[in-house]
């Protein structure tokens, strides 16, 4: 298993769709073979089409609001007294999170394929909110599948979806969270694939969905690269890129331009959800050494029991509360290009409190996991080290949880 240089990681799979020969693939029912094949052909065509790229870039700039800003967290850096800490404030993107990139691209593809209906899964509600926004913008009818537990804990995003005219389909099976939402969404697609396009909300699912999502979020690292050059005149000698990992779409998007750099120069650190300190449950298949399994059409490290039943997960952050993870991150873990760790619910809450105390940004619970790791390692590093956190979501959606756990928001 080896990385190839100058080829986007999303394209480094074999003919069956596996990265490193074992992660990914397309474990799908026969009915979905054709729609997945059609989508694959269409996407490969579109990404080579100059007009389509122009259209994408137009919407990235004028609709999403690229580039999002890159700022130094001076007070936090001074307080911790080690590395300089920076944030890429992706939460400035239209809608408040990176999910808008994938949603916009899927809506454009849906339109290009001549389909009028679009469906998607959501956990934190951002993927759903963004898809409902993009659907509205491009005149598509939209259905969002969401676990009943998540509907309760992420109300602000549900309100937004409804305002945008999307139908929220509550999912009551299993743990009533993201894993069940994705299953139900895929089941719906099986029954309606003739006129409906499916968007998977992260770099998970059958191979093609990993690719489309990664291709969309990669915009984040393109922006960061030029912002780094502008700020430092060149790419600094010591960088750490810290990102939370649920499915892994923001992390891949944040890293994709930097994967070819040496690990010594640019370290990639993924932070999973460790769950509550007191609980055995978590959502950290990479950092807590889950076995490889098949979930939602792809092979990846998956929280599961010996029998192959998918295990319940637990996290304060609905966006990270998922038992699987992108095959791309499994590959990056195995070849040791990225390092994966986890932060507990409590770590994330403490990090959020500290960020709020020192800085003007308002990271949601997902990136708060990444900030927890930055806060942990920064004091041990020297001031030439540039630690950058992807602040990929806005905490507005978490206001009820934050109020309950921290007393104020």
């Amino acid at each position: 298993m080896k990385l190839k240089k100058n080829i986007p990681l999303i394209d480094q799979h074999d003919k069956f769709g596996f990265w490193g020969g074992k992660f990914g693939g397309s474990f799908i029912p026969e009915t979905l073979k054709k729609p997945v094949e059609d989508l694959t052909t269409k996407f490969e065509k579109l990404r080579k089409n100059k007009k389509f790229i122009k259209e994408r870039d137009h919407y990235f700039k004028n609709y999403i609001g690229s580039p999002t800003s890159f700022i130094k967290l001076k007070n936090l850096s001074n307080h911790l007294g080690g590395a300089q800490i920076w944030a890429k404030v992706v939460s400035e993107a239209n809608g408040g999170a990176h999910k808008i990139y994938n949603a916009t691209v899927h809506a454009l593809i849906c339109k290009a394929m001549g389909k009028k209906y679009i469906i998607g899964d959501t956990g934190a509600g951002y993927a759903g909110k963004m898809l409902s926004m993009a659907a509205k913008k491009f005149g598509l009818k939209c259905k969002i599948f969401m676990g009943a537990k998540d509907i309760k804990r992420q109300k602000p995003n549900c309100d937004a979806m409804k305002r945008n005219g999307a139908e929220i389909v509550p999912v009551y099976s299993g743990s009533q969270t993201l894993v069940d939402a994705v299953s139900e969404c895929m089941r719906y697609w099986v029954s309606n694939c003739d006129n409906t396009h499916m968007c998977v909300g992260s770099t998970v699912g059958p191979n093609i969905f990993v690719k489309i999502c990664g291709w969309s979020t990669a915009q984040i690292s393109r922006e960061l690269k030029s912002q780094l050059k502008k700020e430092f005149k060149k790419i600094p000698e010591k960088i750490k890129l810290i990102n939370c990992v649920g499915g892994g779409s923001s992390a891949y998007g944040f890293w994709s331009e930097f994967i070819d750099y040496s690990k010594k120069q640019i370290e990639l650190i993924g932070v999973e959800a460790g769950g509550s300190k007191k609980s055995k449950l978590h959502a950290a298949p990479l950092s807590r050494n889950a076995k490889i399994g098949i979930l939602h059409g792809a092979a990846s490290y998956v929280c599961q029991n010996d029998e192959g039943q998918i295990e319940e997960t637990q996290s304060i952050s609905a966006g990270l509360d998922y038992p699987g993870v992108s095959p791309i991150h499994c590959f990056l873990k195995d070849i040791k290009r990225a390092r994966y760790t986890y932060a507990t619910d409590e770590d994330a809450l403490n990090a959020y409190k500290m960020i709020k105390k020192f800085e003007k940004i308002n990271p949601s619970l997902e990136p708060s996991h990444a900030f927890a790791e930055a806060i942990r390692i920064a004091p041990k590093l020297n001031k030439d080290t540039v630690v950058i956190v992807n602040s990929c979501g806005d905490a507005e959606k978490d206001r009820d949880i934050l109020k309950a756990r921290l007393g104020n928001y």
Binding site: F27, T31, L32, K33, S173, G293, L295, G308
Partner: protein
């Protein structure tokens, strides 16, 4: 695999001028003991019994089969229990073919070779793996064949013509045609006439293969599809199990009655 039990069952049905009846229940629904009793009882009327090994993240099953699977898992069913149910069944009904049906992760965790050898020991006749499509299933299917286990390929209305030819070419004794774009348990949204027309296209490619139709078949619709080599009924049976449990009635009797009715409709 000439002369497999599966082929023999189709021949027998053909002689009686009717399609074979295939039933589906989930192993361990609602207990290990009960599902064995159901199997024994319905096999008086069913020609081939499909037995699901339940998974808690089924991406192609509708509500009825999901309910059965969750119920079985809640009552503690393990993969080894599934095999022991089959083994016990086969001791009494050695001529009724058993087809196991489920999702690939369970086989993957058990490991392919161990799974196949366990199938052999328990006298499993065939396997359907919902999320291991062609051509990804080629190696596994070949392993099954070497061990005289039928790997059953699925075909759907979305399957392209060239793909269809390749799948049929690589198939074993039986092929499963999915009647419509749906998960299991959906309402039949395509007319039986149209389904039979599509079915005939596949049949014309390979007269020697036994082709069954499944998805959406109930007491109401089964008769209209009797031209097929075989018909699979799953969700309607799982639904009856759920109903009987809810009403605290005898599950075995009620389910057997449903199967009896299904059989009478195609005689």
């Amino acid at each position: 695999m000439n002369n497999s039990l599966i082929t023999q069952s189709f021949q027998k049905a053909q002689k009686e001028n009717r399609p074979a009846l295939l039933t589906y229940i989930v192993a361990g629904d609602n207990t290990k003991k009960k599902s064995l009793e159901i199997l024994k009882s319905i096999s008086d009327y069913a020609d081939i019994c499909e037995v699901g090994f339940p998974h808690n993240t089924p991406i192609a099953d509708g509500g009825q089969i999901q309910t059965s699977a969750y119920r079985a898992l809640k009552n503690g069913i393990k993969i080894n229990d599934v095999f022991s149910i089959v083994k016990k069944f086969k001791k009494i009904k050695k001529n009724t073919p058993i087809i196991l049906m489920g999702y690939y992760n369970m086989i993957y965790q058990y490991t392919e070779n161990k799974f196949i050898s366990k199938c052999k020991k328990s006298k499993v006749d065939g396997l359907i793996v919902v999320d291991l499509p062609y051509p990804e299933n080629k190696i596994f299917a070949a392993k099954c064949k070497m061990n005289k286990i039928n790997f059953i390929q699925l075909i759907s209305p979305t399957t392209s013509k060239s793909r269809l030819k390749r799948i049929v070419g690589d198939s074993h004794d039986m092929i499963y045609y999915i009647s419509m774009l749906s998960t299991t348990g959906g309402k039949l949204k395509v007319s039986p006439k149209k389904i039979i027309k599509e079915y005939q296209k596949i049949k014309n490619l390979s007269k020697s293969k036994n082709i069954v139709i499944g998805f959406g078949i109930t007491e109401k619709t089964i008769k209209s599809l009797r031209k097929a080599d075989g018909l699979v009924v799953g969700s309607a049976i799982c639904k009856e199990i759920t109903k009987s449990i809810k009403k605290r009635q005898n599950v075995v009797t009620n389910v057997t009655n449903v199967v009896k009715i299904l059989k009478n409709k195609i005689k």
